[in-house]
Every structure is written in C-alpha cells, then in structure tokens.
Symmetry: D2
Subunit: 460 residues, 4 copies
C-alpha cells in the first residue's frame, strides 16, 4: 500500500525523489511506537464503549495492535520509509493483519491529534526519566557529601580562594541545584498532562466521542479544553527543552569543577581509570573525558531549545509541517540529558577526594581575612568598613612578609590597629573559621549536618 493511496485518490503522481528524502519521519518517530499503540487502544476502546464502532471490530483491532506490539518488541516489525511515519506504518500493518476493519480505528481521529497525543505522552515520560536521573545524581552527591562534612577546602569566588569551606558544603550546593531542576521537570509534566486526543484535525468531530475516557485511559489529568490549541501547542516540548537546557548548565558547572579539580595544579579529586582515558601519544595523561563530554554537551541541549523555539515562533495556527522538527530536537535533548546525568552520577560516585591537597590549597591567600575583619567588628566594635580596611592592611603586611595570617607577629597587626590582642589568633585558623560560620546554610559542619538530615529523608 503506497503513501499515495494513503493520501486519497486525488493525487495522480507520487512524490519526487527529494521528497522521499525530506518528508519521512519514520527514522526518528518510530520511537513513538509505544505511545502510538497506547493512544490507539484508548481510542478504540472508547469508540466501542460509545457504540461508534461495534465491539467485535474493536476487539479485532485490539488483537491486531497486540500483534504489532509483539512484532515491534520482538524486532520483526519492518518500518518502511515509504510509509512516512510511525502512525502510517502501524496503520498499514494493521490493515495487512486484519483487513479493512482496521480503518475504523481512524474514526473521529486525525493524524494531527494522534501525533500531538503520542508526542505529549513521550515527553511526559521523558520528564519522569529526567527526574529519576537527577535524583540518582543527587544521591551520588549526597553520599560523597556525607563523607566530607568536615573536609576543608578553599571556597572560591572568581576562581580565587576566598574563604575556607568544606567539600560536603560544596557538593550539597549542587544537590540544591539539581533539586530545583527536578522541580522544573515536575512542573512541566503537570502542565503538559492533558489529552489532545479527540481534537481531530483541528475542529473536533461530529462523532459522539468521550474525551474524558481516553484521557483517563492514558493517565492524563483531563482533556485539553480547546481543540485548536490541542493541535497547535508545542509549548510543552519547549518547556521540557528549557528545563533540560537549565539542568545542562548546572551539569556543565559541576563537570567544569571536576575538570579543574582533576588538573594536577589542584589535584582535589582523582577519577578512576574507568572515567579517564589516555592519549594516543602521551601515555601519562588522565584525561577527564566524561566530564568534558558532559560539559560539551550543554551547548547541544541549548541548541535544541533554540532550534524548536525558532520553529514555533514562526507558525500560525494550527498545524504546519515545520512542527515535524519538534521530535528530533526533543529526542536529542532527552538522550543527551539522560546520558549526561548517568555519566555524572557515576563519576561523582567514582571520585576520590584528596583532603590533604584541598586543605593545602586553602591555606595561602589569607582566607581568614574576613574572620579577622569580623573579629575587629565584634570585639573592637569598629564599623564594618573600618574593620575591612584594617584587615586589608594587615593582609598587605602578611603578604610582604610571605606568611599566613596566623603566622604574622602580633606587633605587625598592632602597628595597623593597636587594639588587636593575641585573642585574634583564635579565629585565624582554617578550622576555627569553618566552625564559626554557624549561620543557617553556612559552612559550619553542624549546619552541613542539618542539610544532610534534610536530604537523607528525601533521597535515601
């Protein structure tokens, strides 16, 4: 059965060769097979319930669909480019299997609402998978954070060591970020979880269908209220892509940290052989390939969003074939984000921190200068800005003498601010600094443990 016949009797000649290249979507939209079958089952059951199609015919169709499912899962289904897309492939096979009664499946349904339904189901599933991938990554981060509640490392701003923090604190910041990413997928899923089925070509149908029934059967919260919107809308796909793109920026940040932490100058973490590769000419390298790949793939997901937004931006209602671009962009982003999440979770679980190198990196650079300034405020009751100047001047002296703040003679400090006493040394060590940051969310291990408790309840 040719596509030609599919289109109806009106077309006298077939599509040109170039059309055979550009038109078919079966190479990618065959991924919608399960959703297509789910939609067809819901639809034919409803048609039978409403008496639009005889119950016997419906059962014949359901058997045919079951056989098609078996063929696809068994790898025997022959997807054909000349049948253009997944819908016509299944439709044609159904007609082969059960004869003309197959046609009744298409009563009160159009390819327009069929594709909108299939795709929405698929993206809904992708939201779930993204959520699970993010959760697994949170778990991996959490497990490392639990081990490093007290492991001191430099906290950076501007890639400059700023104040001592703990590695657990740093990792939990990413747990928070990926938690919000999960929220975006959850919200997107809830918003898209409405059924387009029954919108028909665009205007609805004169058959007395029950859209609530099909929506329920497919797990949708309700039917979409407006049939033209049901056919035209792809904001659900854009929202999914936006959530992917934002999650990808967070993944890229973490990947960038792994790359940086792995460079010998830092040496904060070591990835095992499983997650690094060598070079064809430099045998000594431990290249953090997986982290670089994750970082590199961010652009791709962003590109997917740009691509689809650009398409949709230019369309009037309702359907235009331009929308055929929606699926490849979403499939690409979904494959990418799911792979990146899995790779990142595995890397995080795999990494070994080097607390000694972390602490060594936290020592220089006068990281307790803020503690000194705060001490001057607290003890000497100086206004903050003045205390800041005092601390700055003391740092200058320490720098010119080549010592850390806690090694600078008291006299040098008193030359700047005579009120300073020996008690100041109590706040100038890394450990004292970290433990003192007791504000909610701060780096004091006691506060980190609060976060650990919070996330343990939700992740473990």
């Amino acid at each position: 059965m040719s596509t030609n016949k599919m289109w109806g009797g009106r077309f006298q000649s077939g599509p040109a060769d170039i059309m055979r290249e550009i038109t078919p979507s079966i190479d990618f939209d065959k991924r919608l097979w399960a959703e297509d079958l789910a939609g067809s089952r819901a639809h034919i059951r409803m048609l039978a319930s409403e008496g639009i199609v005889p119950r016997g015919d419906a059962e014949t169709i359901l058997k045919g669909l079951a056989q098609i499912e078996a063929e696809i899962t068994g790898g025997q289904f022959a997807f054909k480019r000349e049948l253009e897309d997944i819908h016509l492939n299944i439709e044609a096979r159904l007609a082969e299997l059960i004869g003309p009664v197959a046609g009744k499946l298409h009563t009160a349904r159009s390819r327009n609402d069929q594709v909108a339904t299939d795709f929405r189901l698929w993206v809904r599933g992708a939201c779930d998978r993204a959520d699970q991938g993010l959760r697994a990554l949170q778990q991996a981060l959490f497990a490392q954070a639990e081990k490093h509640v007290e492991t001191i490392m430099p906290g950076f701003t501007h890639m400059q060591p700023a104040q001592p923090i703990t590695f657990g604190h740093h990792l939990l910041a990413y747990v928070e970020m990926f938690g919000r990413d999960r929220g975006r997928f959850t919200d997107a899923k809830a918003r898209m979880n409405e059924s387009p089925l029954g919108a028909a070509a665009l205007a609805g149908t004169s058959f007395p269908i029950d859209r609530d029934a099909t929506a329920l059967a497919m797990g949708f919260a309700r039917p979409m209220r407006n049939s033209m919107d049901a056919i035209s809308a792809r904001d659900f796909a854009l929202e999914y892509l936006a959530a992917c793109a934002i999650a990808a920026t967070n993944l890229s940040r973490l990947a960038g940290e792994l790359v940086q932490w792995s460079t010998p100058a830092f040496g904060f973490v070591r990835l095992s052989d499983a997650f690094t590769t060598g070079s064809s000419i430099m045998p000594q390298k431990r290249n953090p390939d997986a982290a670089e790949l994750v970082r590199g793939k961010t652009g791709r997901v962003l590109g997917d969003f740009v691509a689809l937004a650009t398409v949709i931006k230019g369309l009037v209602l309702t359907y235009g074939t331009d929308l055929q671009e929606d699926k490849e962009r979403v499939f690409d982003a979904a494959d990418t984000i799911e792979l990146c999440l899995a790779a990142m979770a595995a890397m995080v679980a795999d990494l070994t921190a080097d607390p000694a190198k972390m602490r060594a990196a936290a020592e220089p650079g006068f990281p307790t200068a803020t503690d000194l300034a705060d001490w001057v405020v607290r003890v000497l009751k100086k206004p903050f800005r003045e205390a800041h100047h005092i601390a700055g001047s003391i740092v200058s002296r320490a720098e010119s003498q080549g010592v850390t703040l806690d090694k600078l003679p008291l006299a040098e400090m008193q030359a700047v601010e005579p009120g300073i006493t020996g008690e100041v040394f109590a706040v100038l060590s890394l450990d004292a600094s970290v433990h003192s940051r007791m504000s909610l969310g701060g780096t004091a291990p006691a506060r980190i443990k609060e976060q650990i408790r919070y996330w343990r309840e939700r992740l473990v």
Copy 2:
C-alpha cells in the same frame, strides 16, 4: 569616596580607563534600588533585633535609607559610575548622610548575598508583572472571543483552509496558550522565592543572624538552605528567561496571525489607525507595525536566554564577575515581554473582525470534505479509510467542475458512491459543519460557550 577606598587599603593604583568602561554596572543595576533598600532594611532590623547592632544605630541607618529613597524617587540622587554599582552608590551616600555608622549595615553581609537577594526580588516582581500582562491579554482575547462565538472562518493547517471553525474558537486557543504561560511564571516565582540573604560572601557568617526573619520581612517563603548555592545560583533568572522566551513564541504566533489577517488577500481583521502606520512614500499602506514589532522581538528574548545560559554554563562555584551579565539580559527580556504583552492586548482590543470576509474565505477549498467522509462512515457504515477515498474522489469532481461540495449534483456523487443520498447535503454547508463538531473542545458554538464560561470565571 573613591572605589579605590571601597576596595580597601591594599590596592595602590586605581583601575585603568578601560576598566572604568567595562566594570561599572550602575547604568543598569540602578533599577535594583528599591530591592536594595528593601534588603538593607530587612537586614538592619534583624541585626538590631539580634543585638548585633545597637538599636539606635539601626534607626539612624533606617532614617538614612529613608532619605535615600526620597532622593531616588524625587530624582535628586546622583548615581555615580565611579561607585560602580547600586550597592556601593547607596552605601556611599549613606556614609555621607550618617557618617561611619553606615558601615554597620554591612555587618554579616557581603555584596555577593546582597546582589543575589536584590536580583531575586526583582525577578520575582517581574514574574508578577508578566502574569498580569498575560492576564490582560487573555482578557482582551476573551472579550473578542465572546463576540465571535458563531463567526465562521476557515481553520487552517499548513496555511491552507482545512475545516470551518469560528473566530471565537481560534481566539480561545490563544487564551489557553497564554494561560499556560502564566503557569510557567507562577511556578518560576514559587521556586525562586527563597532568600539568599545571610549567605554572606559564600560560607555564611559567624554573626548570630536570623535568616528566617529577613526572609519573612522580604516576603520570601524561606531562607535558602545552602549558602554556596545562594551565592552561585542563577537558574531562577534562566527559568524566568525561558518562560519569557516561550511566551514570546506564543506572542509571535498571534502577531503573525494579525499580520496575515491584515493583508488584503485575507482581510479578516482591521486594525485602527492607532495601531498601523503609513509609509513615507506609499500613502495607502496600513502597516501592522505593532504586530510586526511584537513578532520581531521574539528573537531578542530568545537571545537573552541564550546569552545567560552560555554565561552560566561556564562557571564554577561560587561567584564570578561573568554573572554581571545576568541583569541586563533579564531587564531586556522583562522590558520586551511587558511591552509586547501590552501592545498585543491593546491590538486585540482594537481589532475589528470582518465576518463576511472570514466566511467568504471559508467557502472554497472543499472545507466540508471531512464532513462528507464522516457522513459516509456514519450513514453508509463504510470503514473510515474507504469513506476518505470516496470523499477525495468527489472533491476531485467538484474541483474539475469548479463548484463547492454543496453545489455538486447528487449524480456526480453517486457516480463515485451509489449509496449517497440527498441527505448528504445537510452536512455540506459551513454552518452545519461547525455546529456538528460537538466533541469536547470542538468548534460547535455550544462547546465554545463552555470555554467562555470557564474563562469568564477566571478572567472577568
């Protein structure tokens, strides 16, 4: 007081000229003045409550802030580029007004958590404004839809007339779309509504601050749980930009319809003089400028998202000056989306539909072919695919005779399918077609009225 002094005593020379060009953000971040004052008030009140700053000093500071507010709203405040940003401008003015006690405001606070707080407050407000703008646009669409529940026009797919629908149905599809856009802003706002204040530079502070109190004072749902996340995260800005970009694609679609509907070949709507402009050389033109501007500005909002995603993608924790780019992108997107929403609401309210032209455009092209096919299924009990072929062949005959379907002699139809009777003509008119589409969400006026009721409760 020079920025030099702001940085502390350590810097011996001032910034180079080029730095004076590239560094200051005051030209744009002065828009954060209200948020900056709100944050400072919440902070100083909390510092006083906790006994960190004497109550008298806090009152002096609050008076100073009140005067600054008066100066800014009165237009007397002198924003200075050499003071870099809104925070230092206000800080310096406060010091001028009340002397060194001003410095106490900065106890237990850093520019890092200050800017994160101010910006989050601003974006939260932008979510509200976008929601209001979308609501006003929905109201304008709703008001037009109410008038055109029964106004027949062609429903298009592929920019080809497909089936008759009503103008009210078409407009309500956009009400749905903009409804989901509102949902995205609402969700974004809820997710971002957590307070970064108290994260200090990145690690928290040793002062016994009460972050719940400041969060509450600023209307945040709670403090952020992790101080490093509080400083580093800009996913809230990305999510806002993504919501803007998606809304902009919907706006662009509607704007594209207005441009198309206004072209004489369609003539479906007429925009008043207020929303069209002439040409310097072609006096007869009615250019739908505002619609074109809205359509054109979509790219800009998408570009804003790309810009910020690209920035954030490349950053490790916590703060980097790269993030200074966040505000201009968000301000630009907010200004753009708010202007576009206002312009679109005004245009929709302004437009006059031309029902005669709409109906005339719906007549040709055999728009009731589907109705014919459906009749063949329903009455003659043919399988859908066969009915489809029959309808296709009858259309071919009508086309070659140059008549519409309801003008084709019965004999011609019977030559294709002998079972067809004269009753078929009852479904071949535009009105019959439209009224027959009684499925939920369909174009039958009875169904449109359901949507009207639904939205009246929510919009009017």
Copy 3:
C-alpha cells in the same frame, strides 16, 4: 584488540559501561573515513620521502590502506564501538592486515592533529557542496525569473501590497541573496584551507617531517603556522555553521513565500502533486510540506551554531574532549542545508505561477499612489512632502468611493489639487508604473533584463 590496549599499559581497568555509551564517536565520525585515509596517505608518503620510515614499510601501509578503502566502499568494513572512533578503527584494521609495521604510520603524528586534519578536509568539502547546492538553486530561480520578466504582481512591504513589481524581479532578489551565501562559503573555505597535520599532539615533533609536502598532497594552501592553534582551532567549523545559518534564513524566507503564495487567498503559485501532500482526514488539501520542512529546518541549523559556539567559548588551549561535539553539529547542519537546498531548487523548478492571480492581487490597495505623488513632483513641481500629502488625500477619496486610482474621476483629484490634469492617468496603471521604474535595479522589465544577462553569464 581492545581500546584498553590502545591507551597503553597504564590503565588497569576498562572503562565503565556508561563510558562505553558516552565516549565512542564512531557512530558519527565514520563519515570521516575518506579524509582519514587521505591524511594517512599523505603522511606516510612524506615519512618515506624524508627517510623517517623505510619505503618498503610505507608501501605495505599504503596497500593496507587501499584494502581498507575497498572494504569500506564495499560495505565489508566492520566499524566497532569498542574502538571508539574512525581513527582507531582504521588503525586497528591496518594492524590486523599488515601486522606491527602498521604502527609506523603513527610516527610523528597524534590523534589530535589527525582529527583536526580529517575534520578540516571534511568541512572544506562541505563548503563546496553548499556552493553547488546554492548554484543549483540560483539556476532554478533564474530559469523561472527568465519566464516572468514581465509578470506583474504586488510588491509587498509589511505583507501589504505596496507597489507593482514583476515576479522575475522578486525571484532575482533571491538569486542575489544566494549569491552572497555562496561568497560566504567560498571565503570560509579559503580561510580554513590550511593544514594542521604535523602539529602532533600540540607542540610539533622532533621528527624531521615536511609539512609543506603533506599540505600540498591534501590540497591545502599551506601548513598552519602554529601547532597549538592547529590543534585548538575550530573557528573554521563555526564559520561554516554561521554561513549555513545565514543561508538557512534566506531559504526560510523563500520557503515562507512559497507557503504564502500557495494559500488560496494568494494563489500566486501552484506546486505539483510531487511537492505537496494530502491530509489523512481532509482530502482536498494541497499542503506545501516541502516548503514547510525547509522553513522548519532553519532553527535546527541555528541551533547547531549555538551549540558549537557554546562549547568552544568555554575551552582553554589546546584540545578538550568537549570538542567531540563539533562533528555531529557540523554533519547535522551539512545534511540539513544540502537537503534543503535540493528540495528548494526542485520546488522552484516545479512551481507554476498564476499571472492572472498575481495581477489581480496587485490592483487593489492603490499601488500606484507613489506614481501619483511622483507625477505631482515632476509635473507640478511640488516639493515631495506636499505631493505625498496630495496623493494621500486622493487615495482617501478613492478608498471611500471604492474605486482604484485610475478609476477615480478627475474632478475628485482636482478637488484635492486643482493643478492635476487628465495626463495623470498615464501613470496610474500597473503596467505604466512597472515600466516607469527605470532606475538601476528597478522593476522595469528593461532593468530586469540587465540582471538576467548578468546572471546568465554566471549561471548557465
């Protein structure tokens, strides 16, 4: 031979499963096989010439490479994911075929310069293919333009008819645009046509290689001057993607015209059955699918540019695995642009213009108002702005009487401007208007014919 062995003896365990998913590029980079062989041949011949490798070994290697080529072109080559990429696949097969001597091919070469060379060769070829595709499209446009030098249609601004033009004029505007697109590919090719081979891992090599010889052998203009640049640079790929993205915007504009011209309200062109498809439920539709697909694919190419720019933006020198993303983006853009160019050329060749509908659409809307204003300037010597006002007022009268300008009674015109005489009617017809626009590049058929001559020399 496992990848493990490829990396050398240092890695004790194999890559984790997830790495097996994320790392291999062979699924897409096998497209570089011909370039990889070309590079290897140039390299081994040079090594032999320079006495670095014995001539006999070189010949053995060349025979092995010839057999590999035969296997690949014959479809017998087994690409293996565990061998990661095209380079290692060919390398491993060569070792199977000729034994350890195969290793000598990698003397003074690294995968870094190898991949840079292969990819540069591929993109160079893609520039040529884009140029040829653009030329074919120009030829198709030219052939239609030749037929329609005098076919009058409305010229649009703001999608409003503005002034009469000819269809040939309109089509030739696109010939100009695609001509500039060709120039961009030509310039990109010239700029990228330098050889990275011999840069080795990044620092060059101590073997006495002859980079001029290998550059010459591969058709490069010269070797790249700096080995680190040779390894790191991907601006050539970005420039190719930018040229594709810009060409895609031009393609999208033309595709948008075809969609619009095909809508019944315009009816300017008719695409044959070969380039339109039907609908599963609306047998009467002629959907301009191919044009919509071309329009829709613009976003994709733009997304490819965004994706790669985002990747490269974040990299320090020299190579990072992030760059593995470069090939898929370029392949996708190349496939897309080449398919779109072919589809568009075929559609343009296929389309049938409807001169009657074009002319009919040019009549209303007072398209000769400018001609009227110009006549007032020329004959009545009024300043341009005053003439413009006069023409505007006369249009208002014609509009309120429902007549075209050339049907408006002279008395009506004289009521606005008494100096107007009956001679004015000579400029108010469509044909007079078109023929009068004799400025260089104008729509007068005599001027169109100049462009026809210009392009015939270059395209036919």
Copy 4:
C-alpha cells in the same frame, strides 16, 4: 510637526500610547546620524547633477544639513521621540531650518532605502573598528610573545599538562586566531560594500537617478543590482554578528586562560591592580574582573546573532517592521566586542608572567613521555605503537616511585625495555624536549622566532 502629519493626511487619529512606547527607534538609531547625513548629501548632490532638483535648492539643503551636523556634534540637537527615528528627526529639523524646499531631499528616495543605506554604512564602519581592535590585541599578544620565546610552561590538553611548550608559542596561537577573525570582518565588509540607495521603497523609481554616483560618493564599490534585495537583505548584519560571535569565542578562551592562570594554584600570570578588583568582605582577593567580564560577554554576542537570525528567518520580502530589531542587536554586539577587545589588549599588555611558576608546573606529570616514546622509535627502531606501550610502562614505574622521568634509574627503564641506554636522558628534560620540536609550527624557539618574524612584518 507631528508624526501624524509625517504619515500623510490619511490617518485621522494618532497612535495609541502603547505605540508611542513600542514604535520609536530614535533612542537607539540616533547613532546613525552621521551615516544619515552622508547618505543625504550624496543623494542631493546627485539629484542636482542630474537636474532633478535645482542646484540652488540643493545648496540650501546642503547648508541645512551642515547646520544639523553642527547642532548634533555640538550637542544642541533635540532628538524627539514623537518623530520616531533619526531620519524623520533630521527631516523635520531640516524643514524647520530651510522650509518646504527640504521636501525635495526626499525625491526619488524612501525611508526603506535610506535606512538600508545608513545601516550598511554603519556596519561597514563597525567592521573596520573590529579589525582595528583585533589588530591592537594581536600587537599586545605579539609584544608579550616576543618576551617569552623561551619561557617554558606546560602545554595542556584536557586541562592536563601534556608536553612542555613556551609561553610565546601559546600566545602566538591566539595571534593566529585573531588574525582569522580579522579576515572574517574584512570579507564581511567587502561583501556588504554595495549601495542600496536608489532602491526607493522597493521597486526603484521613475526619476532618472544615478546610483553609481551616490554609491561612489559614499565609498561603496557599486550599487546593489536588485532593488528588492537592497531593501530586504540583512545578511550583512548577520554576517557581522557571526564574525563578532566567533571572535567572542576566541576572546572567551583567552579570558578563561587569564582567569585560570591567575588562580593561585597556577600563578602563571599576575594582573596589576588596575585590572583586578577586591571584594567588599575579603580584602586579600585579586579578582580578574576584566577577564571574567570579557568571558561573560561572549554569550551576549551569541545571543545577538540568535536574535537577529530568528527575526530574519520569518520574513518574506521586502521590508517588515520586525527588521527594526536589527540595529539594537548590532549596536549591542559592536559595543560589546569593541569594549572586550580593548579590555583584553590592555590586560595582555599589563600582565606579568611568572616563568618560575610556569616551569615548576611543567615538571610533574611526565611531560616528556612522548619524547621517550619518540626516542624508542628513532633509536631502537620500534614501531610507534610498541614504543608508546614501553613509554607508558616506564611512566607507571616513575609514578609509583614518585619521581620524574629524568630521575628514574636506568635499570627501571631497562626492566621494561632492555635496549634503552643512558643516552635517553638527553631527551627527558624540559629544555631538550622543547628545543627538539623543530617541525614547522612546533614549539622549538627557533620555530617560534619564525612566527615572530612573520607577525612583526604585519603588526609592528
């Protein structure tokens, strides 16, 4: 004189308030004033030469334009939003100054070709400015490179030290990149250097104008061949933006290096106080703000390209108001790229390298492993892959003993490969390695000096 009057007599009511917000472009397009005057001067002189306008009137107009120029450069010109854009502002002022004769300037010209001409002139100038900025940056890099021809540092791949190189080599790689960026601006400028003036509204004009003369007067190479193309095309702006976006990725890479090299863990370079800033709470920080700002602004330029490409993608011929978006995107990109180039040139000139830290970083990580493998190939005549395995095994031994390769006892090496002799130590030092990479473009100082000579001729 109101815009209302500008549009002609046909519009009875003024634009709505929202239109007053969205329509005017004068706030940004006043930057085109010089180009607008240049175009008007060329036009009026030509009109006089051709006898279309009396010579006396032309002189009056030229005097008026001269006065307007004086007013603008003197800061006395009152730009008015109600006059919409720069063209109408100048036109209205000219009418005030010289009366109705001003109107003659608009003979045979439309705002459409006027804006296309002005904008093309501006972008042409922006290409020159970008070229100059890139040249200055190349000069700064060159000057540093000259000083560091022999300064050894690690060459990185995957952010892992790979092989020793020199700092001069590294810097010259960027000189190459920015050289290609210059080529892109040069090519873009050459391609856009054609005059749209005389295309009038879109169809040309019936006045006997001389487009060659106006093109020549404005420094264009020739008039554009097709008037519709002249009005519609904005690919010149896209090409400029693409060149900016690609240059921005190169700038971002270099900025990223500066940020990384400035972090204490590397410490390769020190930026002076002029290019770093402190923190409000951490007095010891040297934040490489300018480098971060440059890095951050890359996204913005990419966003500008995306924005305009998205706009143009959706337009049919000829002009649509959507195109009003073109100028802001280009101005923003131009301001950004020019500022970033200046900042980067200044930073590069300012930086002080720390050769000791660079060398120290090059020592660990077995950076001469490749040299060892190459020695095994050259001296022991082993196939490359085998030599690679040998080197890998020797590195494992050195790593487990915690020594560098040149400190590993010969016996350890011989345990892996008995043929290795003491001569191998001659290639295992950093200096030996660097000096041995004598291939063209390699890191050997003799080769670097070749590049220095090449660039000195072109830059100094």
